[in-house]
Symmetry: C2
Subunit: 465 residues, 2 copies
Amino acid sequence: MKHFKQSDTIIAIATAHGTGAISVLRLSGDDAIELVDRYFFSKKGVTKKLNEVNSHTIHFGVIKNDAVVIDEVLVSVFKTPNSYTSENVVEISCHGSNYIQQQLLQLFVKAGARLAQPGEFTLRAFLNGKLDLSQAEAVADLISSNSATSHEIAMQQMRGGFSTKIKVLRENLVNFASLIELELDFSEEDVEFANRDDLKQVILSLQRVIQKLIDSFEVGNVIKNGIPVAIIGKPNAGKSTLLNALLDEERAIVSEIPGTTRDVIEDEVTIDGVLFRFIDTAGIRETTDAIEAIGVSKTFEKIKQSSIIIYLFDVHELSRTELENIIDELRPKIGNAQLVIVGNKIDKEDIDYTRKEFSTLGDLLFISAKDNESVEILKKNLVDLFDKRAVNVTETVITNARHVEALHHTQSSLHKVFDGLNANQTTELLATDIRNALHHLGLITGEITTDDLLANIFSKFCIGK
Amino acid sequence: MKHFKQSDTIIAIATAHGTGAISVLRLSGDDAIELVDRYFFSKKGVTKKLNEVNSHTIHFGVIKNDAVVIDEVLVSVFKTPNSYTSENVVEISCHGSNYIQQQLLQLFVKAGARLAQPGEFTLRAFLNGKLDLSQAEAVADLISSNSATSHEIAMQQMRGGFSTKIKVLRENLVNFASLIELELDFSEEDVEFANRDDLKQVILSLQRVIQKLIDSFEVGNVIKNGIPVAIIGKPNAGKSTLLNALLDEERAIVSEIPGTTRDVIEDEVTIDGVLFRFIDTAGIRETTDAIEAIGVSKTFEKIKQSSIIIYLFDVHELSRTELENIIDELRPKIGNAQLVIVGNKIDKEDIDYTRKEFSTLGDLLFISAKDNESVEILKKNLVDLFDKRAVNVTETVITNARHVEALHHTQSSLHKVFDGLNANQTTELLATDIRNALHHLGLITGEITTDDLLANIFSKFCIGK
């Protein structure tokens, strides 16, 4: 890990690419302040030395290369260790033209700064002890969060909630490990410092907590990536109308704020802070008849990917018996997904009749997607279905596949410890398995890291963070 | 103009849209600091009052709405009058997620801030006397500048170079105007305070300077929008290969810097700091035979839009006589555009023979677009052609259509003054024309403005500037 730690000065554009009112370039490293100072001239002709100003102060002036003014800028100075990376950091706020951004980048690269790798600022923050690894990972999650729930979980993780939980688990295990290791030191004397029954109890309670964290990943994952929903039904049941009704309203709200661009994939919609993702909605739009083709493996697979399946039917087209048959055929094929049966194209005049007609089928929802009638109720139902499935979001939720993998490894090591205890295994073997469990837990918060692991984690960051 | 001046607190996202490492929200107005203070909590639990901190300082903490942490942020405080707008300004540097940006925007809008109109920050800077109007316009030009020359001109204008020139012109005219106005006060006495011959001299010299500025617009315009170049020639002359050779090299240079996105229109290329724009290059790629179709008005029009026309021919296909005929046919049709005749597909072995073959046709350039042979020389020639046409860029260059229009009006008023002097017009009429000239000059730097004018100028800005 050692060779990762560097303090040469790195630079990157920290704001989104493209043209904006302003852009921010960020430099971090031993020479960051000195480097900017060489090209920075404060406006009033006073030669202000950035080395001499206070940390956390802002200075107006120009960046000049020889006689050529590249831009009028604001320079923010952060002195080690009071900065994001804990190194000297300078942020240059310039006019948001691509040309100026590039000129400034090139100027400082020529002067000796190095273009930062993705996530390198946060990597340095981690290596300098400003954040643990799971907090660092949460920074990336936070930036890509696009709903209230994913934002909340990432924020909680960045602020250390999840790390604290893991650290407590690890400490419990470390306490026992140290007793076991002590036994190894005195192995000739055949003593037992660690009460085997107590150890079993600790292992069991650790396993319970870890399993709960592992289980939370299913929820965490859908929170992060959106709850997969499939809308299926016969042609002309109104699937695309319904999809538009679900999507459009949200769009209208967003576009109330001028100048916002929704950087999200089409056919995602956030309802009440929960992100729903409509699976292969292109398919929804062009599908001929999902149900008739249900034997076809592709449709089948799509349904399998969904957490929620909306079966939409035209109340004027299907009789109760037909619907019953379809539902009976459908149920065994949808696995654990939740099925929501929705009758579309209701006529307000006839709604009571319609309800009666299908009443034996249980709690169906009747809407008119076209007239936006009761679509709100469907939305509320979707959110409720999520809430039922979810562990409470205020509890710790795993959203990171790497973490869940480490937890699985921890769990399987703990299993071995437990089995070993039952089988009266040697202390050496017990110690090895406990060490393995500790190792995997340590990978999560970064007590234990490898170059590959770090490279892999931070390569997924955006440049400038 | 008065009702434009407001000091309510405005807010906008100032960085480019989309997801980046960080984003910056900017607030300006009487209550900007107080408003942020309500939701900002410095990390260490110390309740730091932003009202009490020094100007130009940065503060780390969280923005909280009730108990919910929206983000960990850096808050920069600028106190009136030492800010961009000269009002209280706060910049919030947050994590660059769209979700967070929107949450913060909505929080402060609910708290009483107003979403800023495009350019409203700069409008306020103008209304508060931080910039004159042409400097304010240069801010927008600077942000959209995409070549060294357009950047240099915008920077010069923003830093007041052009304004100073206009102000000097206007002062000269004001001096004479005041003498003329004085004559009006004493009109019954029939005195002449302003010597008519001296006045004529001043008018003539003003007209010379203004004409030079007007003339510079042609250059200024191409600098800003790119020099229009058409590549024409028979099918298979290698037009698209040449275009790619001209474009690709530059792309390679740009992509050396990781994470840069070129926000420019396809088929523009900057050579030696000069922007060239290839007219309807889609057409270049699919054209059948531009020369044969030269009678067709569309092709003809495209050629008329170009400043430079590259006629490309295959050295193995055309005989000297054929080429001569084509050139003779072409020349009268290209107006003021510069014609560059380029022989393509040269064979290194036969280059001397080829040169000899076409030698009577003057200074032709021979290249191989495919092998990138002598393409560099063609590029240098393009830049040289521009330099010959250009007034020296270090002189004042007009790039703004509004300015050139005002200068035209000024010029025509000055004409009337001059004609009036020759015709011994009454002082009243002279005074009116001089006042008109002053009015139009004043429109440029904003001594004279109207609501419409300001609305029109600033509506073209991006939001957040």
